[in-house]
Amino acid sequence: MDILHNLFLGFSAIFDLNILLYCFIGVFIGTLVGVLPGIGPVGAMSLLLPSTYKISPLAAVVMLAGIYYGSQYGGSTTSILVNIPGEASSVVTCLDGYQMARQGRAGPALGISAFGSFIAGTLGLVGLMMVAPPLASMALRFGPPEYFSLMCLGLTLLIYLASESSIRAIMMAAVGVILGCIGQDPETGSSRFVFGIYDLLDGIGLAPFIMGLFGISEVLLNIEKSLERRSIFQAEIKGLLPNWKDWKDSIKPIIRGSVLGFFLGVLPGGGAVISSFSSYAIEKKFSKHPEKFGKGAIEGVAGPESANNAAAEGAFVPLLTLGIPPNVVMALLLGALMIHGITPGPLLISRNPEIFWGIIASMYIGNATLLILNLPLIGLWVQVLKVPYKILFPLIILFCLIGAYSINNSIFDDIVMILFGVLGFVMRKYKYEGAPMVLAFVLGPMLEYSLRQSLRISNGSFSIFFTRPISAGAMILTVVMFISCVAPTLRRKREGIPKEETQ
């Protein structure tokens, strides 16, 4: 009954014309960036982050969250129609989605992807409502050592799951901590790495940092090569409603994908990408006809698309209950909440229930809106796909420039953004990932605070991280995962030396 009462509170908080409008804007932009291969949800959210400073915190988070889960819906459209994933989490949808489109079944592929996303989104919300409140009350007992260990675990998981080199992911996490802690020391007031620049005393701004690293660098990467024209699936898209057989084949993958996605989303470092790949692998294993996968099996669309949407909602659990963002997108949401003076964590539900339950209620509205946006309006998104990049990229650049400027009405933020844009571009060329850097950037000040507090409590002994059960559990997991991602690289290097010498 409590949940229903609280949900009612959430709905009453968001049934305001303004907040509903921001919810719609969020899911609309989310679908748009999901459809457009040139820009992702992180870029779009960081671009719009400054514009949320002047609206209410609930409206801000509702809009930014809408962009995130909306992009999961939109990402599938390009995978199915163009064979280019709009989002990394939709990569796997290309395998069977595009094949279905080639066989004249683009409609059912798009339909099951939207329905699957809706069902998974709804199931994910139920999970969020069930898991978050008890976890938050448990987290009230957490002290600085627990927070420090959990943040280390989150960072290590992200490193463990890095798509490129783990060694380089660790390096980027270290750089992220350094960059995140630049500015005035909160305890002693001494300035750290500000080089006499007054604007740096408050630290590097989150929005220009991310906009540069993801927005500008993406544009630079796209324009350095010839701008290719995308060939779009030309046939008329009809029959968006899947038939009885499609439903029969898809319902179990949708449910399995939802459960798997939610729990993978909850894990720090996990998220939509891993859950969609895992779901595809599981469905192939469960299928009586695994040979059909990759040739247009509807299960290969239904499972992963459901999983990535459920993961998008599961990711809210650690953010809203512990105040620890499990991925870059949640780090951005954390930044947005903190700018409004709201600290996500175990006290959020009791101190700001309208924010917590308002976000949940908005997701119900958002998911329903997305269903409408993605099915009857599919023609509109196909048209959007035809916008050439030479028209798109100046718009992205301009919104980045204005977005960064509008934070402090200072051109300094634009310069910071351009510098990080160049850094992000070079990093991508040399295969350094930006995600660990951004997460560490956001977690850096919290890491520093909890480390210093923990050491003070223990009088300088690091054993405090191993003597308290939750902290010890998280630390042991961190150490095990850290070793398991570093050890194979070291072993390969050691084995490489004699081989080199013999040559």
Binding site: I170, M171, C181
Partner: protein, 152 residues
């Protein structure tokens, strides 16, 4: 032979050494009373260690196959430098020329710089972008833009 793929780690190694020395000078404090430099020092040491591990790939000859070729092969430098130059010029001229003129010039340049576009398309696209962005950010979100020396 050193692959270009590894060159980035030399940069991060230098950054790590610089941060470690500066953090030491900032005051590391004691473990029981950590100073403002401790977190930087810890992160810098991690950066140095893993940069060295990454660089050791030079001696073992390990580098992913797809990274053996030049990272910059096929890069259209002219485009990149033009866009970056335009961005920096925008930042430096923004307060002088004002939002409207500066943004209009930047948009016309960007619409034409990367791939040839007809003048009238570039000007029309720039004008409409300018109007929309001015409406959204200045009129709706109340972001104050500089008017510049021309007064608009």
């Amino acid at each position: 032979m050193m692959t270009r793929y590894r060159m980035g780690s030399i940069f991060w190694l230098i950054v790590g050494i610089y941060v470690a020395i500066s953090a030491y000078q900032l005051d590391l404090g004691e473990f029981s009373e950590p100073g403002p430099g401790l977190i930087f020092f810890g992160a810098a040491v991690i950066l140095i260690i893993f940069s060295i591990i990454d660089l050791s790939g030079i001696f073992t000859g390990q580098s992913p196959k797809d990274h053996q070729e030049s990272i910059w092969a096929g890069t259209q430098w002219k485009r990149l430098l033009l866009v970056l130059g335009a961005l920096l010029a925008y930042s430096f001229l923004f307060d002088i020329l004002g939002f409207i003129l500066c943004t209009f010039l930047l948009m016309v340049f960007l619409f034409r710089a990367v791939e040839p576009t007809k003048w009238w398309v570039a000007i029309l696209s720039s004008l409409s972008t300018l109007l929309i962005s001015y409406g959204v950010f200045n009129l709706w979100l109340k972001v104050p833009f500089p008017s510049g020396i021309l007064g608009f």
